[in-house]
Symmetry: C2
Subunit: 531 residues, 2 copies
């Protein structure tokens, strides 16, 4: 060898060593010794497909999508994603647990609308008459009316003068033909229940404004879901969608802000314990059905994180804490955590509730009840803002996981604490992007978390609004936007979603063992693909 | 006190301590003991103005800017920034050194055009006839022609059939009236020499596409600047703009890719040593002028980082390294570093040049010459891509600073090395945003660097294309987008821009002492403002 060649060889050795040191904390490096030959081979398959499609799919022209790239804005790129082999293969992957989803906003909004159209008590009205202009910015109010309510309106625009209501089905049937008739009605409703690209990337393109649209759409959906028959149907739909996407277990957040939902007769008198009872019944029915089809190993079940919006007074918060304790006592197998939600940038920070939160912890100790905090925190681009500072409080209050924790990467000490204490982050890539914390997946801080050894579980947040049903879309974005992360990494994240769940050790073992079996079968299918 | 109050007090103590630990590595915390009462008071003034303007300026409606917020997209927000008191005050701040700017792309492009219009040998032609449609996407070729050249074209569109040229001044005078005449010509030229909002945030809105526009505009500008009289004028302009913005010292990158520039007679025969000779003469003239006006303390001078584009073969690279050594031997006071530039995502990575780079280091040792590497690296959203991996090579090759290092925040080990070895990052906030690495300043990873104790100097990169002349705009974006960073932080970054320059210790001391004097005067002015 020439001197130059020797120099280069010595250099390359130092280089490999430095790269290894730098990646030493990554979950896929820490557990590298465990990875089987099968996992490595399947990982190669996925990498090969990703590399090919970077050119054949993302490198070619697409009508209406001028700037396509892997990991691009989800709402614009979704139709391209759906065409990829990578997506198709990931959709079959067993994905572990969903640890961050808001129940009432978690299912396909088209199906929520279809369900609502089955019930004549669901009514609607508009604040101004709809025409080809106003329909673009008018959002309806939706509400189940009492069974005795008699509507005077024969079309949606007749609700305007006196604020009366019209049943959703009638509004649809009589929707003005110049607005597209029934199809036009459906399109308008879906637009009001979800976020579209021109809102996320145009009219509402910043983190403050997009939340306005978010709340607007959430209100329409929740007005439908908080009606007993739709609530029940939504539980079924939720479970169907998750199981179809290869998910084994769920910890879902339910927002208990509204104290009563609407009964089948349209009376606003159904208390929280009934919500859980119905949830439990639907869950049992679903599991029975799974068992009858010989699939009881695939799906372990659902637990519920009690959730309240962070826009009330500390006094009111105490009521909800008491309510949470009462529900835990009645449904110990269901309630598995407590959380506060809502746009952290404008609502109250955790420190605002410090007295009730400390009181709640004490009370739980006295009662020997286990309702861990699973706080949303740091869902922000702020640096030292209230939303960012919530991370300190979430951790000091002993949160077991962090919802989003988008700004955690700014905090070296907090990342160290999360790593050492095993506080996992519930990372929701597509949610973060649509809510304009990151412009696209390549800008997302996930690689920083991974490289710092912070435990991570990927999640979907609000698929009704975002269109990312299941976990496949989020897994896709993560693996498309990195050259380090591969299938092995996704597998470790799926494992960790079970490990960092609130299940007890024995249940974790059961769920993990079932997952490992499905994982092996999945890998075998992958490597047997014709290339 | 009640038990609850005691609990809250104990909690708040733990909280303060955790926040301090988390911020312990920040330059403004490390040096907290040094900060004078004057600095703290002035810092408060700036924070107060920032808070007020967050509401009075950023919280109100602006025509044509629907989604305004502090730290927003620079090209859209610039006109709002210019109206703020915060900008006005920061413009007077002494800012230390500019450590990352590309000379030929660093000055006001309007003035470059005006200079070009003074010279009849500068010619222009277009690849297709300009009309109201084609003008939108047609970029001219510009070139100094030989003094004997006789143009046959009497207007710019007459250059199309035979590829002949027309002098820039004549093209302007005869510019079609339906395209706006002279004004239309100027607007078109400026658009071709810079990046506008509809390109950065619309047609070219991703990191790959915006580089296409970047290279196009850079080519037009460089064709003007590489003409002896304009080169000389540009040195003067460069120094004027920086001194006006309170800058004490500059390490500027000059791109030596083109082996010859055009002589005053339009002959392409002026070699690199002449470029430096002219630069040196203009610099001396400028400094004499400064001294005559009693301002010699304010501006220390300029050194040059030899720069080559990373799109050539390793063999060709050796020619440029020899050239760099020859220039260093003739201009030891000017040449202060070596770097490779160009879009890292598509051009060659450092490892491609590993043999010549290792050879260059050896040769410098033998010759006892000091030309440190000051590499661009990690100017990317990639995770494990060539551009991202460049960071390992830059560091292993002993780079003294890193240009951009945008993706460094993904690398815990590399951040530790930078902190321990004092490898500063030249962070260019506005450049990163316009080149679509980050959608806006609140998403920029700068706080991660600061919180990890990585040394940072802020810089402007390519003001001709971005419109961020001086450093005030970049300082503004940084301080507007954080609630932790304040004037004290900006002061420390200014100090560090001198500390991490390539000046020898004695010169650093001189520049720092002068800066400290100006800083104190600036602070005193700030605190004496009527509130």
């Amino acid at each position: 060898m020439t001197t130059a060649a020797i120099d280069v060889q010595a250099y390359n050795e130092k280089r490999s060593s430095l790269i290894s040191q730098d990646r030493a904390l990554r979950v896929d490096h820490v557990r590298a010794a465990n990875h089987t030959a099968l996992e490595k081979k399947a990982d190669e398959v996925i990498r090969r497909i990703r590399d090919v499609e970077a050119k054949t799919v993302w490198g070619v022209k697409h009508d209406g999508v001028p700037n396509a790239f892997p990991g691009m804005e989800f709402l614009t790129g979704k139709q391209i994603v759906l065409k990829t082999k990578l997506f198709q293969l990931l959709s079959k992957m067993p994905k572990g647990a969903v640890l961050h989803a808001h129940f009432d906003l978690a299912t396909n909004c088209r199906i929520i609308l279809d369900n609502a159209l089955k019930h004549s008590l669901i009514h609607v009205r508009v604040p101004r008459a709809l025409d080809v202009i106003t329909i673009e910015y008018t959002v309806p109010q939706v509400q189940p009316m009492h069974r005795d309510y008699v509507s005077s309106a024969s079309s949606i625009n007749e609700t305007v003068p006196d604020g009366s209501w019209i049943s959703l089905t009638k509004a649809r049937e009589t929707f003005p033909s110049e607005l597209g008739g029934k199809d036009g009605f459906d399109k308008w409703m879906i637009r009001c229940m979800s976020i579209n690209p021109s809102e996320a990337y145009g009219t509402h393109n910043n983190n403050i404004k997009i939340w306005v649209k978010f709340r607007e759409a959430a209100r329409v959906i929740q007005s439908m879901v908080h009606y007993v028959p739709i609530w029940r149907a939504t539980v079924q739909q939720f479970l169907l969608e998750l199981v179809a996407d290869g998910i084994s277990y769920v910890e879902v957040r339910i927002n208990f802000h509204r104290r009563f939902m609407y009964s089948i007769d349209g009376e606003e008198n159904v208390p929280h314990r009934e919500w859980l009872k119905m949830f439990d019944e639907e869950l049992s029915a679903f599991k029975r059905n799974q068992a009858e089809h010989g699939r009881s190993h695939d799906f372990f079940g659902v637990k519920i994180i009690y959730t309240m919006i962070r826009n009330i007074s500390p006094e009111e918060m105490k009521w909800y804490m008491d309510d949470c304790i009462t529900l835990k006592q009645e449904f110990p197998h269901l309630i598995t955590g407590f959380d506060l939600v809502g746009d952290e940038n404008i609502f109250n920070p955790l420190i605002y509730y410090i007295e009730p939160l400390l009181g709640f912890k004490k009370r739980l100790e006295e009662l020997k009840l286990d309702i861990p905090f699973l706080f949303h925190a740091g869902e922000t681009c702020g640096d030292g803002s209230h939303a960012d500072v919530n991370l300190y409080d979430a951790i000091l209050l002993g949160t077991k996981r962090i919802g989003h924790g988008f700004s955690l990467v700014k905090h070296p000490k907090l990342m160290e604490i999360c790593r050492e204490r095993g506080i996992a982050l519930e990372v929701c890539p597509i949610s973060n992007e649509i809510l304009r914390l990151t412009a696209s997946m390549p800008m997302h801080p996930l690689p920083i978390l991974l490289n710092n050894g912070v435990p991570v579980a990927l999640s979907s947040d609000d698929p009704a609004l975002f269109g990312n049903m299941g976990l496949t879309f989020d897994f896709f974005q993560v693996v498309a936007a990195s050259e380090i992360t591969g299938l092995i990494t996704l597998g470790e994240l799926a494992r960790d979603s079970i490990t960092y769940s609130m299940l007890n050790e024995s249940d974790k073992k059961t769920v993990t063992e079932n997952w490992e079996k499905r994982w092996k079968a999945y890998l075998e299918e992958l490597i047997s693909l014709p290339i």
